[in-house]
Symmetry: C2
Subunit: 423 residues, 2 copies
């Protein structure tokens, strides 16, 4: 299990109060990348971005009955005129109210898929596991608007495909599991679960078929094998809501013939800060962070000699900048950082870089003084991703010693040849 | 003055409660672009992004005295354990507390410039002018951390340059005006004011020198000419705060010699939703929206014939998609949209497109049936930007009739030649 302390030591987050966290620049970089992949996937499914206020009038939640149902988990406040608001944990009421306010749309304007990215609030009784269960957290929430159950199911499967695409890109074995709709209401619901030791949910999987099972089963539906239970984190949720919100809040559309009908709604959530924490939890060890390749805060770190050392005097500090420029030129999409804590030894910074989980670590040290000059290169690999449901930490192999030409070829992904040549 | 109703009619925003707004997809596109330009400018000044929680413990604001000073404008709430929080209007306390929590940084780690983009809250007594004075609004807020006043001033001027660069890119005549620090405290402060009729501030400018004046002056400092007073909107604010927050909250650094010293802070804000509204206010008329070129939600709209019309039957609906593809191929950065409300006449959609302020409107109509086939092209121009402080609406000239080759050349900016050839 990932030690929460590691996230603090690595400078990713700082708690400010129980269940509230500052996201520091390193983690923010990863969140930016994660957000951009989430946006790309949901927009590929036809979604349009909007922003609803975090403050929602309590009256709307009263009308759907959720003010009482959700109860003490709601963060409530009053403005200076004693008008009551919620810091919304989700926005079904706000979306239904928007559609009511706009007035009945024509059936020709539907279906529509609207999404937002923003902070959500839940007043957890006992927040724990850091960003996995925070009181203020970032989410993608998307809302589908439909004229029929068929239309809703088509959209539902399109967004489900977008989710699957996202998790595939991130190389995360997230499983879609049927779920009861709970207080959300509606006709269909799935949870999207990522195996991780700190998870509060349990996921039944078949070690042979690598499939998640349906609730309550003892044996795999496909192969009949005994199921294995794993801790997991719910990173997403999808629902077909029907008219649960549109009816009490008056969100109607005009069909081809006849009077206005209630809009059928579906909704789709991904906990963004939670997904970040769950990725780290899934991939890291208690000693070292590991990131999905696509969202690592930096791709490459360059570590130079210790200030004042023999290597420092022989190589000079310009070499770090030169190497940075060369790599940046050949790998324009790579995020590269120079570790400028030159007062620390290479060894100490190497340990820190490994703990932080930089996918590629390049050391300019002793081997650079030999002929030909070589860099020490460490690259995290993740050989067992295909095993699916298992928690599969990356491993960092021993250093490769590479000349500049070999390094550049290696970074371009021509690994096989290089591993042979350096073997 | 921009009619607020126009923003509603054009589907940009919807009010949800007094001073609270849903940002609809069209306006959200503009906000995304605006945010990306703001991020580029502040990061070019060396800033690193982070995220602080919107909820800040009231205790911190009590320690700096601002809980009482700011008073009823603060949105306050209590969690289920009766712990008091603010929905923060600004984050100086939170940043100082973060630095205190991290422990004294070495003077070698400073200066540092941290920023975030997120929602802020202010419980205005009477919210008005839509997004210009909302209760929940989006802001960039950046915080500089320094060891000396000199260091703070260097950073201050670097960020001021970044602001100037941003407003220049957006082609907005924003003026930097000295301001009293007010409840923020500190040694230096400037407001960044954009002339706009709905603005609640007043700005003295010299019509000859195009410079904003210092408070209270009657004559221009440079040329001695009589000053002119304009309504304006504060779109940004910059402060050198000194130790106003670091001292009471224990944010210290370790100097080269001697014990810990309080960190000097500076801070920098840009109201993002307010800037969007102020741009529109500055550039639009009461009939038609106009956008800064860089943040227009779409660059080009294509309007085809009315469904069932003679042109529709002769040209076919594929021509719109074909033209879209051709333009998308030659102008890969352009955001293009097809107006698919084919049941409306060209004339009606042309009026709506002009009102929405699409920078380029392309009509496939009668002239496309002549030989050679020509498009009607309308492009907003803004000849008088250089006049500086004036509210300078764009104007839409009469249609150009262009063949496909002429259209593509025109979009690539080879305007002079084309204006000659079509004259």
């Amino acid at each position: 299990m990932l030690d929460e302390q590691l996230l603090l030591e690595c400078g990713l987050i700082r708690p400010t109060s129980s269940g509230l966290f500052t996201i520091l620049p390193i983690a923010r970089r990863a969140l930016n990348k994660l957000e951009s992949h989430i946006i790309a996937c949901i927009e590929a499914a036809g979604a349009q971005r909007m922003s609803l206020p975090s403050l929602t009038s309590s009256t709307l939640w009263d009308k759907t009955g959720r003010l009482e149902e959700v109860g003490p988990e709601l963060m409530k406040m009053e403005d200076r005129h004693q008008k009551k608001f919620l810091l919304s944990p989700t926005h079904e009421e706000a979306v239904a109210d928007l559609l009511s306010d706009v007035g009945p749309m024509s059936y020709k304007q539907l279906p529509l898929l609207l999404y937002q990215i923003g902070n959500k609030y839940r007043d957890e009784h006992r927040p724990k596991h850091g960003l996995l269960r925070a009181r203020e957290f970032s989410m993608l929430d998307a809302y589908g608007l439909h004229t029929s159950e068929d239309c809703a199911r088509t959209m539902y499967s399109r967004v489900s495909d977008a989710y699957a695409q996202l998790f595939k890109r991130l190389q995360l074995p997230v499983h879609r599991v049927s779920a009861p709709p709970g207080s959300m209401g509606g006709s269909m619901s799935h949870e999207w679960q990522l195996p991780a030791a700190a998870g509060e949910d349990e996921l039944a999987t078949c070690p042979r078929c690598r499939q998640a099972a349906l609730d309550g089963d003892q044996r795999c539906e496909t192969c009949g094998g005994a199921l294995q239970w794993l801790q997991s984190v719910e990173v997403g949720h999808t629902f077909i809501l029907g008219t649960r919100y549109s009816l009490p809040l008056g969100a109607f559309y005009t069909p081809g013939t006849g009077g206005p009908q209630p809009i059928l709604m579906s909704c789709y959530g991904i906990g963004i800060t939670r997904l970040l924490a769950a990725c780290l939890e899934h991939l890291s060890t208690d000693k070292s962070l590991r990131w999905p390749k696509l969202i690592a805060p930096y791709d490459i770190i360059i570590i130079g000699p210790k200030e004042g050392s023999y290597e420092w005097q022989s190589i000079g500090s310009d070499e770090m900048d030169r190497l940075y420029d060369v790599i940046a030129h050949t790998q324009p999409d790579a995020d590269i950082i120079i570790d400028d804590r030159h007062h620390l030894t290479i060894g100490k910074r190497l340990v820190m870089a490994d703990r932080m989980g930089y996918p590629t670590i390049i050391v300019i040290g002793k081997a650079y003084l030999e002929s030909p000059a070589r860099y020490e290169v460490y690259r995290s690999t993740r050989p067992d991703f295909e095993s699916g449901t298992q928690t599969t930490p990356y491993s960092t192999p021993a250093a490769l010693l590479l000349t500049e030409a070999e390094l550049l070829s290696h970074l371009e992904g021509n690994d096989e040849q290089l591993i042979k040549s350096s073997a």
